[in-house]
């Protein structure tokens, strides 16, 4: 019974989730690039500090920026560990690379098993740490929305179950049940990427540029706004 479910989850469902994610992300990227292209065409000052934007992106990807901070250093460092985990393990775990090879026909470097184990544990700890950090910080706690609480939890599920799949003796459930939960939770997460804040995995790369471009106004835009509102004859 479970076997057929696993087969379904491992084959068509995984493909569907990945396809939906790719399509959704592609839509976001294309729209964003299109918007940036038009913004640039319309801007009166077309000099955009691309290098500065990229440097700021990279600054926030590396941990030294967090470690210099006075406030929330631990939270930010936890966030760094969490991000390393959620990117590296799904992509480079040996078992996953085998699936990618089977599905996509390409293969790459595989993460040594023991490193993967530790990274998975670290990711789960970091996910809990992020939730605690959110809970204990008044500002963060009060502005949080449901997805801010649910997503770290949902991210932790495939890591916990994945660890149990690799080490069945630690698992409280049967291997097949754990494996099924692992697959389904991961697929749900993959499916949610384009529809939740997880979309920052692609939109993060343009946000710094977007911010700079936001200040590059098209000449005459103020006048055109007034015209379209029928206020062109009104004064200040």
């Amino acid at each position: 019974m479970l076997e057929s479910w696993i087969a379904l989850a491992r084959g068509p469902l995984l493909r569907l989730a990945l396809f939906a994610m790719a399509l959704g992300l592609l839509r976001h990227v294309l729209l964003q690039v299109w918007e940036i292209f038009w913004a640039l065409r319309r801007a009166g000052d077309q000099v955009v500090p691309w290098g500065l934007a990229l440097r700021r992106n990279l600054e926030w990807l590396l941990p030294w920026r967090y470690l210099q901070r006075k406030e929330r250093r631990l939270y930010n460092f936890t966030s760094f560990i969490f991000h390393v985990g959620v990117i590296v393990v799904p992509v480079f775990l040996a078992g996953h690379v085998a699936i990618w090879q089977q599905e996509l026909g390409i293969s790459w470097w595989r993460l040594p098993g023991s490193v993967a184990d530790w990274l998975a544990v670290a990711t789960v700890v970091a996910a809990v740490g992020l939730l605690l950090g959110r809970m204990l910080n008044q500002a963060s706690r009060t502005i949080s929305k449901p997805q801010d609480w649910l997503l770290p939890l949902l991210c932790a599920v495939p890591f916990v179950t994945g660890f149990w799949v690799a080490h069945p003796s630690w698992s409280p459930l049967g291997l097949q049940a754990v494996y099924l939960v692992h697959l389904l939770s991961a697929e749900l997460l993959i499916l949610l990427v384009p529809f939740s804040k997880l979309v920052h995995m692609v939109l993060f790369w343009t946000s710094q540029t977007s911010s700079e471009l936001g200040w590059r106004f098209p000449p005459g835009s103020g006048e055109r706004v007034r015209l379209s509102l029928g206020k062109d004859s009104e004064g200040v």
Binding site: A43, W60, Q138, S140, I143, H200, L213, G214, V236
Partner: protein
């Protein structure tokens, strides 16, 4: 008057009252936001008008690409709250920059994205109500748009940009501080062509008087050049420098004379006010002010635009003259401190280090320092004439706002908020330096810091411009 009643004329008033959720009366709006509006400018259904304006702005400007990005990526980590001096003081969730920005972003999500429109139809209560819009009108003028939080956002969200856009939308439905509108109207449409509505003869008289003052103080004849064509620089300063902050203007004139640029600059009698409140609330105003500056530069055939000691006048010109003044052909923009600093490095200017003996500290105006544009130049100048210079911490790019940024300094009704909430950290900073002089090279910062010092019991502090002290310390051959 019932808001919204005018937009639905065919339905009897009683029926309408039964159908509509209770609306705020304009009296109530007046009561809550007495400084924000002019009574006759509020008409019709606020939510509908807000959405119309928002849609028009998204269509004609470059905001959509950035707002769409911001609407999707926030992680709500609240790193920004650590950088916000308002939140640090109030600990109120509505002062977290990310929360404030989300007010506008949520309107975008609900009304301008597919998912949001579906959601909006599924919910019984709409998001956008009169109350919601008034909350925006209130909170976006609690933010001083200092942009300190943007340095702390891992996702690169510029909350200053969101504040600017929100105020722009609000201003087009008439929700804008009266003080800003009146000043801008005088500057762009009034006979005096400046924000303080001072007629030209009064300014001309004042300049003549300042020339005499300079002669009395320094025994040199310095002329304020008026409407001189073919000069290298055309000069724009905040109009307050011509009367209330005259020491700054005298310092600038004497410095330019001393470094051999006395015949290289001019003031335009037609338009001399560098103030640009458009940077705070409207792209339309921003463009009109800058076009005036560029037109005057063309009229007098000046090659460069020189801005006096003013943060937002400098930033608006530096960042947007290219945009509105013809792209690459636009005249370059220089701030007076850059010019004085360059002359100092070239050895063209000398100071007497024994004139200013009191302790001095320097306040970085956000609009000059946040981007790292003018941070070290004034400090090098100050160290050259002052032996007892103390830094405020944090300073430079990480400076704290004076508390009156984003045009809020012009709103007298906000004074207790400005000096006791936003400006209280600044008061602590100033007190910690033990300085007598606080140099603030910005007309807005100067007014605000004086009020901060008054309201926080810092009676021994004197707030001055950089060129006020240069005027005292400069050595003239």
């Amino acid at each position: 008057m019932q808001l919204g009643a005018t937009s639905l004329p065919d339905v009897p008033a009683e029926t309408l009252a039964g159908l509509c959720p209770p609306r705020l009366t304009s009296e109530k709006i007046q009561e809550r936001l007495s400084y924000i509006i002019e009574k006759d400018r509020i008409a019709g259904d606020l939510p509908r008008r807000f959405l119309e304006v928002f849609a028009a702005i998204l269509q004609h400007t470059n905001y959509r690409q950035v707002i769409d990005n911001y609407a999707r990526i926030p992680a709500r980590c609240a790193n920004c709250s650590c950088a916000c001096q308002i939140y640090q003081r109030t600990n109120a969730p509505e002062d977290v920059p990310c929360y404030r920005s989300d007010l506008l972003l949520e309107v975008y999500r609900r009304h301008f994205t597919l998912r949001g429109i579906v959601e909006e139809h599924l919910r019984i209560t709409p998001l956008l109500t009169d109350e919601y819009i008034l909350e925006m009108a209130e909170t976006y003028y609690h933010c001083t748009a200092c942009r300190r939080c943007t340095l702390e956002c891992p996702l690169g969200i510029d909350h200053g940009l969101v504040t600017h856009l929100a105020r722009y939308v609000l201003s087009e439905i008439g929700l804008v501080p009266r003080a800003l509108v009146i000043s801008t109207r005088a500057q762009l449409e009034g006979p005096t062509r400046n924000t303080s509505a001072i007629p030209w003869p009064a300014i001309a008289d004042s300049l003549e008087f300042l020339e005499e003052e300079i002669f009395d103080d320094k025994s040199i004849k310095v002329k304020f050049p008026i409407d001189k064509p073919d000069r290298e620089f055309i000069f724009f300063a905040p109009v307050s420098d011509y009367l209330m902050e005259a020491e700054t203007l005298m310092g600038i004139a004497v410095t330019l004379d001393a470094i051999g640029l006395g015949d290289a600059w001019t003031i335009s009698s037609e338009f001399l006010d560098g103030i640009n409140y458009g940077l705070f609330y409207s792209d339309w105003i921003l463009e009109r002010c800058l076009r005036e500056e560029v037109d005057q530069a063309k009229r007098l055939r000046s090659q460069k635009i020189l801005i006096g000691e003013c943060g937002h006048a400098s930033r608006s010109a530096k960042a947007f003259v290219k945009t509105f003044g013809g792209g690459r052909d636009a005249p370059p923009v220089v701030n007076i401190m850059e010019l004085t600093h360059r002359a100092f490095k070239e050895g063209k200017i000398k100071f007497d280090p024994d004139v200013v003996t009191e302790r001095v500290t320097y306040h970085d105006p956000c609009n000059l320092a946040r981007s790292g544009w003018i941070v070290d130049q004034p400090r090098e100048l100050i160290r050259a004439f002052c032996k007892d210079f103390v830094e405020m911490t944090p300073g430079g790019k990480w400076n704290l706002c004076c508390g009156g940024g984003g045009g809020t300094v012009s709103v007298d009704e906000l004074r207790p908020y400005r000096t006791h909430v936003v400006g209280s950290k600044k008061a602590e900073q100033i007190a910690a330096t033990g300085a007598h002089y606080v140099i603030a090279p910005c007309a807005n910062c100067k007014k605000q810091l004086r009020e901060v010092c008054q309201d926080n019991g810092l009676t021994d502090v004197e707030v001055v411009g950089l060129h006020d002290l240069i005027y005292k310390a400069i050595v003239l051959d």
